[in-house]
């Protein structure tokens, strides 16, 4: 379940992001729910999302590299069947990337055949 934060914030949610435009926050139990929230917002508003918080060991351990390819290769060890797009986006936020930045770069890479998407919104290096 996702929710925009209310006054009584829940503390147990591992993934939190906020809209750059309106400040609306999303708190989610999985990183890909943040991506789903981003897409729903995008349909209604020209906005992007910044990560506030991502409590996942893969994100904590992700290298400080300004390249999707390098980060994806490092994250690949943590996941059996593809790195969730949201986890990759959270890892890239350590370089200041917004969710929109990551999604458009992933799209470019995928369309050039440099990324593999074994199932929807899960990525592996080629």
């Amino acid at each position: 379940m996702t929710s925009v934060s209310r006054t009584g914030q829940r503390e147990d949610v591992p993934f939190v992001a906020r809209s750059t435009e309106t400040g609306a926050r999303v708190e989610a139990s999985s990183a890909n729910e943040v991506i789903a929230f981003y897409r729903r917002q995008q349909e209604l508003l020209d906005t992007d999302l910044e990560w506030e918080f991502a409590d996942h060991p893969a994100v904590t351990e992700a290298p400080d590299a300004d390249s999707i390819d390098a980060v994806l290769r490092a994250l690949d060890d943590y996941f059996e069947s593809g790195v969730p797009l949201g986890v990759l986006a959270a890892a890239m936020s350590k370089q200041g990337w917004t969710v929109g930045d990551t999604l458009s770069e992933v799209y470019e890479l995928r369309m050039s055949g440099s990324l593999w998407e074994p199932r929807a919104d899960h990525l592996r290096p080629v």
Binding site: M1, T22, R40, L44, D46
Partner: protein, 379 residues
């Protein structure tokens, strides 16, 4: 007597008599995924649903998209200055054609083109052109070019969706033979059209996802029995005793009287009151009475347990003054207070303990909401 599930009390359809015990929709109508699916057809597929504001698309070819249930529609201004709507679905093999385009950041196109095989359509939906490969049979050894039938422009055009307007508000209807918008809106149409709503510009949009059924929030919007306890800042300027809630066929109006006279400049309408209009199924117009502008809400279900509140604000200029910004913040405070309430109510409803709620005598607007839902399910 309260109808708890544990007592195996029978639930009943919403009684038309508000003094009856079974005057509310049974709780399962708020929590069932099947009902969510049913509503796509029986509610959002039958009644006039708000699409967006005409001022967002003033030029020929300007468009935005709007998704209602599983259906996405392109709303576009055509060459005759008419606003039309089409399913965002290609007549060739059904591809989605244009990207999601919010009303707040509209696009502009000379024609509607499908990126898959490049069929393109006029702004009135007629098929305008197809690539050569649809006119000749070059790759098919069993067909001669002469055997290829040409495609009639209007017979192979886009699937149009009915639109109509109340002032600048554009509505859609997916039903084959719907009641006219004027009938669904009744006096709401004349009342809103008496105000110069089209003179105002879109200034801000907030989209919030809330963890409850859309009807839970709709019910909260529609009554003010919760205001004293929960909107203390707002309530200080309101004379609740003199306020009243007016119910019509498919809309209801919450009249909140201000206790002191507000500067006439700060109101669009005549009366010294805030007027909140709820228009079935999921649109509201908020005439605040303390701002030279107005707001609208769209209460869009995501699933049975979540909805999006799309809050738009209109002022004389798209650039808000400090006072207007402050006003929007007050409005946002009200929203957040209400989100807290409805999420808490929904948590309670989801526990399954309560089989059917009971409405008070001043919740006649909520009663109307529940009756319309019941009527739609049974239709």
């Amino acid at each position: 007597m309260t109808r708890w599930n544990a007592n195996n009390d029978e639930v009943a359809a919403v009684s038309p008599d508000i003094t009856d015990e079974t005057n509310a929709l049974p709780a399962e109508y708020f929590t069932s995924p099947d009902i969510h699916e049913l509503e796509k057809e029986k509610i959002f597929g039958q009644y006039w649903v708000y699409a967006g504001h005409a001022n967002a698309i003033t030029e020929t070819g300007a468009y935005f998209t709007r998704t209602i249930g599983d259906k996405q529609v392109i709303i576009v201004r055509d060459h005759d200055d008419e606003i039309r709507a089409f399913f965002n679905v290609c007549a060739h093999r059904g591809s989605k054609m244009v990207e999601d385009t919010p009303m707040t950041n509209p696009g502009n196109m000379g024609r509607i083109r499908c990126p898959y095989h490049m069929w393109s359509y006029d702004l009135d939906g007629d098929l305008e052109s197809t690539p050569k490969s649809f006119e000749e049979a070059g790759l098919n050894p069993d067909l001669d070019d002469e055997e290829v039938c040409s495609l009639d422009a209007s017979e192979n055009g886009l699937n149009e969706v009915q639109t109509d307007r109340i002032g600048p508000f554009v509505f859609l209807n997916f039903a084959d033979d719907p009641m006219p918008l004027a009938e669904q809106a009744g006096t709401l149409k004349t009342e809103l059209e008496d105000m110069p709503l089209e003179e105002y510009e879109h200034a801000a949009r907030y989209v919030s996802e809330v963890d409850c059924n859309w009807k839970t929030f709709a019910g909260n919007y529609s009554e003010c029995d919760h205001c004293h306890a929960n909107h203390q800042d707002w309530i200080t300027d309101i004379e609740l005793d003199e306020s009243n809630l007016e119910v019509n066929d498919y809309h209801w109006i919450l009249h909140y009287t201000h206790d002191e006279d507000v500067d006439d400049e700060l109101r669009i309408h005549e009366e010294k009151e805030a007027k909140f209009y709820y228009f079935w199924p999921n649109f509201t117009v908020n005439m605040y009475g303390t701002a030279d502008g107005y707001g609208t809400y769209i209460i869009d279900p995501i699933d049975e347990g979540r909805f999006q509140l799309i809050a738009d604000y209109y002022f004389s200029s798209a650039e808000m003054t400090d006072a207007e910004q402050e006003f929007v913040q007050t409005s946002r405070q009200l929203q957040e207070e209400d989100f807290e309430l409805v999420e808490r109510q929904y948590e309670g409803l989801q526990s399954g303990a309560l089989a059917q709620a009971q409405l008070g005598p001043n919740e006649h607007t909520v009663h109307k909401l529940h009756r319309l839902a019941q009527e739609a399910y049974e239709a």
